[in-house]
């Protein structure tokens, strides 16, 4: 199929890939939402979660919820800024989509393999801050405003630890391209042992921990969910959104979780790379499966922490970012650089 690409024309291929990725976002959101938010959370809380919709353990629940949201009335507060209010969810979803562009699922299964893939991914993921601020301000609601302001401060603060964690990986891999990072992990060896490849989680374990914490904050998940503090602000910046606009936010939230889990899997666990599988054809078939498995493992960690811990207060949250995570990240880069040069 891919060999026919030259005949089809790169524009068409790009369009097909874009459509596939656009479809992946809600599917990813639904899968993550169902498995972790509905089922895993339920079982951790001594209950069952949805059991009826769709028959087998309620797998249809979120799809049904999506349909329900789509048919709801479009309500907008009277004093809301109409255009900004309408555009905010779109901004968030667009930012998610843009991250998906660089995540590889196989040797050829990537929308665009940018040389500065990592840099690009982190840059566009911070676009969602704008969407959140737009939502909070345009809602004409003080609770929403409080949530949006908290979100702005938090998301910007946690960009740095995210970046610093990733810089360690880049230093070790020697390239910013995500495909390159995957291939380096698949092909290199750990102290001479060839079988496992060299997933960066082994050497970059500090970076991995840092990335997970920062990703948790970027996704506004507990313990960093001050912007959406349910017992205080009742959904914070999303509080005035209903119907399909809320669906956009929901898909944006879980789609971004999917994306960040995918990024973590790619950067630290080896992505689609299976050591020993070199052929492109096999890689294209098994790669997505491998990526999906690793992604779910990372998402499991993220959601497990989400359901267990209480939330940090805003000032404590900022203190954690600026006083602890950033120095640790800098130290991590120093160490990585030292080892890279010395060995």
């Amino acid at each position: 199929m891919i060999t026919l690409a030259a005949d089809i024309g790169w524009g068409t291929v790009l369009a097909i890939k874009t459509v596939i990725v656009l479809g992946m976002i809600p599917v990813g959101a639904i899968v993550l939402g169902y498995v972790f938010l509905l089922k895993m959370m339920a079982h951790m809380q001594s209950r069952l979660g949805p059991m009826d919709p769709g028959g087998f353990h309620g797998w249809f629940q979120l799809v049904g919820d999506g349909i329900k949201f789509l048919q709801k009335e479009d309500i907008m507060p009277e004093q809301a800024d109409r255009r900004v209010f309408a555009m905010a969810p779109a901004v968030v979803v667009i930012s998610t989509f843009l991250v998906f562009i660089v995540i590889p699922a196989g040797p050829d299964l990537i929308v665009r393999d940018l040389d500065v893939g990592v840099f690009y991914a982190l840059a566009v993921s911070s676009l969602s801050v704008i969407g959140v601020l737009m939502a909070g301000w345009a809602s004409a609601n003080k609770f929403a405003l409080l949530g949006a302001l908290r979100a702005a401060a938090q998301l910007i603060a946690y960009e740095l630890p995210l970046l610093l964690a990733v810089v360690g990986v880049v230093v070790q891999a020697g390239t910013m391209s995500l495909q390159g990072i995957v291939e380096v992990q698949r092909d290199s060896a750990i102290f001479g042992f060839d079988g496992l490849g060299n997933p960066f989680i082994l050497t970059q374990f500090i970076g991995f921990a840092l990335f997970l914490v920062a990703a948790q904050a970027e996704l506004t998940q507990t313990p960093f969910d001050m912007p959406v503090a349910e017992s205080e602000l009742v959904s914070g910046y999303m509080v005035e959104y209903t119907g399909f606009r809320f669906l956009f936010f929901f898909i944006g939230e879980f789609g971004t979780a999917f994306a960040f889990a995918g990024l973590a899997a790619t950067l630290f666990l080896g992505g689609w790379g299976i050591p020993g599988v070199d052929s492109a054809a096999l890689g294209n078939v098994l790669g997505p499966v491998a990526l999906f498995t690793k992604l779910m493992a990372v998402a499991f960690l993220m959601f497990w922490v989400r359901f267990t811990y209480p939330r940090l207060r805003e000032d404590q949250l900022q203190a954690v970012a600026w006083k602890y995570l950033i120095p640790i990240g800098l130290a991590n880069i120093l160490l990585t650089g030292f080892f890279k040069v010395a060995f």
């Binding site: 951790m44 809380q45 003080k142 507990t222 349910e230 267990t308 209480p310 940090l312 207060r313």
Partner: protein, 395 residues
Amino acid sequence: MTEPTLLPGATPRLDPRDMRHLADAQVNVELDTGDMILNLGPQHPATHGTLRLVVRLDGERVIAADPVIGYMHRGYEKLTEVRSYPQITTLINRIDWLSSFANEVPFIHAAEQLMGIEAPPRAQYIRTILTELSRIATFVLFLGEMGLQVGALTPAFYGFRDREHVLNLIESATGGRFHPNFNRIGGLKDDLPWGWVNETRSTMKLVLDGCDVFDRLVAGNEIFEARTRGVGIIPGALGASYGVSGSNLRASGVDWDLRRDGKPYLVYPELDFKVWTHPDGDSFARYWVRLQETRESVRMVVQMLDQMPEGPIMAKVPRIIKVPAGEAWVETENPLGQMGYYVVSKGAIGPFRVKIRSASFSNVSILPWLLRGVYVPDVITILGSLYFILGDIDR
């Protein structure tokens, strides 16, 4: 009592005798410049019901807070003037609906004092057991939902699950999970069902295990400690002058428990139990004290099950209860604090005046003083740690 460390820039707390801050809380929108007025409630998940908290914020810091209550005011004191004593027993279940059996006890005790009747020992034991079971049910829910206030979703479900076990016990004995309406002047409505004692013993084991889970999951969590330590410190003497009572006051170091220190009532004089206090007075202390008191209540229930005598459960009372003229004041240690009834009788089948002193009313009255200078998330933590019930505030 140590003064709480204030956040930089917060206004220092005024002397409690200087009540001018209350005038500040009267908000006048036209004159406000940079501050924001936020309404927490009356519809809000954190206010435990229809409590409205009007706060004036400077960014995320509270400058003044004014609780507005009365959304659930049902006029209990007026209603008691046109009701007979058994009818009032039904009514007062609904004051503090989480621990509804405990609400009946002081009133029935006051009426029995006026009549000169004492319930038989078995009835007293069963009353005490049911009171302690209400306390366990209320506190176990608190242990769970306090986590919810600070953001942990999971402990709330454990709290509800453990509470269900205790409610099943209360239901099998009295017929009602929430509003048992089980006390009668002179004793109880019914004796315990067969097998109830064994069921209670096994449920108490479950509750103890649940307490250990809360100890590790919530009280032992670093983020929970970071959110609750040093937040909402109530100095002991000030709390007492406001009328703050129960676990809230004991968490400020005041060693005062009506079960041990007040006038003797029910079978507490025969029991061996410890009164738990904590010196800090912050939200974490309130959580900790309630956790220990839950365990203590479990031990008390087991003691009582071992010691319970056989015998009648109802003293001899006339068919129509006419309580002789007089005044009686009975205050008991209820789960939410000290609850008391001042019953004025003129010899009719219903009282002339009943003054209901509810615990949460006084606990919440300290909020205007307590909330100045704290952050908005801390407001939620403090509201959760004081643990009031709207029916108790509003009567």
